[in-house]
Amino acid sequence: MALCFLIRRKLVDFAEQNLNEGEVRKVQAHLSECGPCRQEFDLIRKGLDAAHGHRPPVMDEVFWKRFDEGLWKKIQEGKPSFSPAPFLAPLWKPAAVILPVIIVMLAVLTRMSMISVGQQEAVLVREAAWLINESPDTQVLSALEDDLTDEMEILFVLDPSLIRKIG
């Protein structure tokens, strides 16, 4: 099978007689004993016969005169007669790749900025603690106490008897 693979790569050159003598002998020997490669070679030979038998079209002078006239007209107009592709066609493939990347990057950046906001707050708290000569933990506790006082005030407004009961 590996040998078939190597031989098949040389079949076109073999058919076009572009191989050296040693290679020709190798290919001939393989073809004499390998049916599938022989079949393959037969198709290649038929394809080659057809290709070599084909003649290029010979157009008459009227055709070429019109062709030249049309070409010079286009050159004088100086612009392509047809756009090679719709405007957006070359863009949609790169866009399909780039858009998800941009979305992911935006998501990551947003997340990172949220983290950095949290970090900034922590820095501010530390700085504030230093300014008033307290540890950050004390600051947090006093903030909690402030919150409790606020809640008790609200409760007192709603139901003063409740506060008296709590003491």
């Binding site: 076109v12 038929k46 394809g47 084909h54 290029p56 079209p57 070429w64 050159i75």
Partner: protein, 196 residues
């Protein structure tokens, strides 16, 4: 001493870049006939082939001033033609339609009429014409890469390395495309050969 086609082309390019606009016309005369056969094989439709070829020459005219000649004029020109052909095929919706393009019937005013080869007998002429159309029709049914490699190799007579350079791939890849194209053409032409 007679200049080769490549040397003539490069000479025309040089003259054009120096401001001689007539050199472009010479360039068109050198390449138009062979290039038409190539585009016709690629597209399978004489009207589109003519349009694409004109468009290709127009692009050449517009950018020849910037052409440095690294790749060779022919390689550059055929790359342009391949890209234009791909665009036309894409606009057709990538359909693998095979065009029945008998050029004798194409236009009532005879503008795409093909000349008969007078060196052949009438029955030979008919047979040759049939074979030519069949091969072009089969070629237009190949996959893009196979068709491009096949047309460059057998309609233009380019070597495998030249095919690779036009297609922008390695020589071994170009050879694989040529191999597969030939195998496919052989497979598709088999029933026709059995009939005759």
């Amino acid at each position: 001493m007679e200049l080769s086609e490549k040397e003539k082309s490069l000479e025309c390019v040089r003259r054009f870049q120096e401001g001689d606009r007539r050199a472009f016309d010479e360039l068109v005369q050198i390449h138009k006939r062979k290039a038409y056969g190539f585009v016709l094989g690629m597209i399978g439709n004489s009207e589109d082939a003519s349009d694409i070829l004109q468009e290709g020459f127009l692009r050449v005219y517009q950018s020849l001033g910037r052409f440095r000649g690294d790749a060779g004029f022919k390689t550059w020109f055929y790359r342009i033609l391949i890209n234009l052909s791909r665009d036309v095929l894409r606009r057709r919706g990538r359909s693998r339609r095979v065009f029945a393009y008998s050029m004798d019937e194409a236009d009532e005013d005879g503008k795409t009429r093909e000349y008969p080869d007078l060196s052949l007998r009438p029955d030979d002429q008919a047979q040759q014409k049939e074979l030519d159309e069949l091969v072009r029709r089969i070629a237009s049914g190949l996959s893009d890469r196979q068709r491009e490699a096949f047309c460059l190799r057998y309609f233009q007579g380019m070597r495998s390395d030249e095919v690779a350079s036009v297609l922008g791939c390695g020589v071994s890849t170009a050879k694989v495309h040529i191999f597969r194209a030939l195998r496919e053409v052989g497979r598709r032409i088999q029933p026709y050969l059995k009939e005759h």
